[in-house]
Symmetry: C2
Subunit: 441 residues, 2 copies
């Protein structure tokens, strides 16, 4: 095998930079009309036939023969057994990661997910009550890309939020179960788990069947069918973001060992060929060193074919005029993962406006964040960090406004509401306010 | 005219209750395939032709002739003039409402929208940075249902969040502008405003044109075309919820004047014929009094035809066995607006899990909340309060995780990440963690 990886070399000083940069970033989430139609049909079928439809599709797509949905449920005993048969080092790593992820999300809940209220001088109370969702569904991909860490990252924030029931679905093509995924479900406190996947699993969670309980929200990544199904059931249930390919952007001032940066770029590229790894750096000599590290380290990597294709097709090493310019370009990209590989990361952090997660300093490799630092690894991709956030406790909570207008408050508010309601031609609104006025009582 | 309004009378003690209740609640957000296709075409056309396409559709659908998009922009001077020519009582009501809405959302930002972080014992920093969206679009319906209060409720939380630019679109069919809507845009601090609407306005905001700037998120209600367009551009930009018909649920213990409750039911019903007004009460005699108030008050209402149709087709007066049972039924409905019309509302509030906004006590008419109490009137409808929240400052902010692993932290975290990454078959992830270990340096 003779892989080489030479990410595109761009420079912001080149006249062709804008065009080259846009071409490199281009990724289209275009939907396939064929997939959309098949997904619509599967959703309608599961809505109409329930369990029977789910069983049919599971046989057809996953090669799993089951007479009843009950056979496709994983028992708690099975999840526990999967955990207990793992090597001690894996059990301990799962538990340590879960503990840190839990602590972080508890801090998140405390900082931004508690109920609050205040009273006006006239005694009127205003606030918001924050409550957990009753029941959520977590989609966990099966087969090759089965990630136990994703089970932790989806289930733990739901658990911390106080969600009553966490229903996991994970396809097991031809019956192949991933012990680490089952063990992670045990550690994370999943309530029930079914070995179903695809659009049929999303439909079962969104509409409910005789066996699979209807949930309030579905989170977790999946293939094009899963993404299309989630988008289609949005509104019937809540969903998290539709994820695109994973990306890393490294802002480097040239002080981090180049091997470390090369390996961080690899760690994104190894996910899949569409993954994107970009380095922004004002130091041309350092960029050359990183390229040398890439060339040197690539042959050691078991997933070198994927890494090479990802870096060659979508990677870029970009020379900037300054770190400030690098920060500005980063804001245009709004990357999922943003490493500030600098001796002085807090100098640059305030300039960074849009990113899913910001990894500060040379010791903060993205992979530490992916598994166990604590923050969530489910992050907005494809520039959606411009308007969305990491998965968090807040995704498993909802808010209800609280309003208690005092008798005195009703006198002042009633006058205002009356004027505005008449202005909108809504006389019953006006009358409802006026009836509470003393002058009208 | 001879309108009568007799909402369905149900009792939880009846054997037919479950069936009757479900039939009454039934509302389908079914999408019209014809509308979906036309919207898809409009979006594609605006993406391809930009301003020219927007101008064409505005001529065709709104009967507005304009040679250039610039003619469809409302200047700040025009917004200001609209405000200044209003009667003093309307100016003052708009300003008072805006002030209260702003105070509430400032409290909301402080309670749940600030950045936070903490350090582990080993010096590792974890947290979240909260930042405003750069630019948002606000859709304001035009024509008959033009609500200036919606301008305040969408623009003010964006403003409080710190959004840089707020772009309003409002269709003005045949050129008819609503002075209160323009004045509200002035009071709320809208940055730019265009007299465009429909799917073409959503497309212009989502993709950007030569004249209309591309935004990061689109909020605000609209007709079926607008809803379909928003759902379709979700992912390219953020969107708020897709709204269904408005609803009120009144939980009454029989202590509020029945006229007040009747008028509160009217104030929901007058929105449109699909709006839903439901009373839950354990006191049969009180229910009869409310029905008598309905019959007495209806003839006075200018919008009595709409109110009557809404109450007859979708309204219900439900006799429950107890207030506790009423609370449980309310949780099943997860209403948009929930009035707890009781002498002791705080006794029941803890039992209420799902609702967009909870109005406590007899003086808190929904209409006070709609206009000026302070909380947002953009609320989750059709049971989506089970998983979503009122529009708020948080809808105009996004979060970036912050992670700074210390050198010491990298030693413990690196071991965990290495084990888990190998378990997932992602060796570059493992190596990136291992490279930071002293034993490997």
């Amino acid at each position: 095998m003779n892989s080489t990886a030479t990410p595109a070399r761009l420079s912001t000083a080149d006249s062709s930079f804008e065009a080259d940069f846009k071409a490199r970033l281009h990724w289209s989430a275009e939907t396939d009309a064929g997939i959309e139609q098949r997904v619509a049909d599967i959703l309608a079928d599961v809505q109409a036939r329930g369990d029977a439809a789910v069983l049919d599709y599971t046989t057809r797509f996953d090669g799993l023969q089951a007479a009843t949905m009950a056979e496709l449920e994983l028992t708690q005993a099975e999840l526990k057994a999967a955990f207990e048969t793992l090597p001690e080092v894996q059990r301990s790593a799962l538990e340590s990661a879960a503990k840190r992820v839990r602590s972080y999300h508890e801090a998140q809940k405390k900082a931004s997910g508690e109920s609050w209220s205040y009273r006006d001088d006239d005694g009127t109370l205003l606030g918001q009550k924050v409550t957990p969702l009753d029941r959520v569904g977590i989609y966990v991909p099966g087969g090759k890309a089965a990630y136990p860490s994703s089970v932790l990252m989806n289930a733990i924030p739901a658990h911390v939020a106080g969600v009553g029931e966490i229903i996991m679905v994970v396809p097991t093509p031809k019956g192949e179960k991933n012990a680490l995924v089952l063990a992670a479900a045990y550690v994370a406190g999943v309530t029930r788990a079914f070995t179903i996947g695809g659009a049929q699993a999303v439909a079962a969670l969104a509409y409910g069947t005789a066996t699979v309980p209807k949930v309030d929200k579905i989170t977790g990544p999946g293939n094009a069918y899963v993404a299309s199904a989630k988008k289609r059931v949005f509104g019937v249930v809540g969903i998290d973001m539709i994820a695109g390919p994973s990306e890393i952007l490294v802002l480097a001032d040239g002080t981090t060992p180049p091997d470390w940066v090369a390996m961080d770029l690899f760690s994104q590229a190894e996910h899949d060929e569409l993954a994107q790894s970009i380095l922004l750096c004002p130091d041309a000599a350092y960029i050359a060193q990183v390229q040398a590290s890439i060339t040197k380290l690539l042959p050691e990597m078991p997933r070198r074919e994927i890494i090479a294709k990802s870096l060659n097709d979508r990677g870029a090493l970009i020379l900037t005029r300054s770190m400030e310019e690098a920060c500005a370009i980063s804001n245009r990209i709004a990357p999922e993962h943003l490493e500030v590989s600098s001796r002085d990361p807090h100098r640059w952090e305030p300039l960074l406006k849009h990113a899913g997660a910001i990894f500060l300093g040379a010791f903060t490799s993205e992979s530490l964040g992916d598994y166990c630092a604590g923050p969530n690894h489910v992050l907005p991709t494809s520039g959606t960090a411009r308007f969305s956030s990491p998965l968090g406790v807040y995704d498993f909570q909802k808010r209800s406004s609280l309003i208690e207008v005092s008798e005195a408050g009703a006198q002042t508010l009633g006058q205002i509401a009356s004027v505005l309601a008449h202005g909108e031609g809504l006389q019953a609104h006006a009358r409802a306010a006026e009836m509470r006025l003393h002058s009208q009582a």
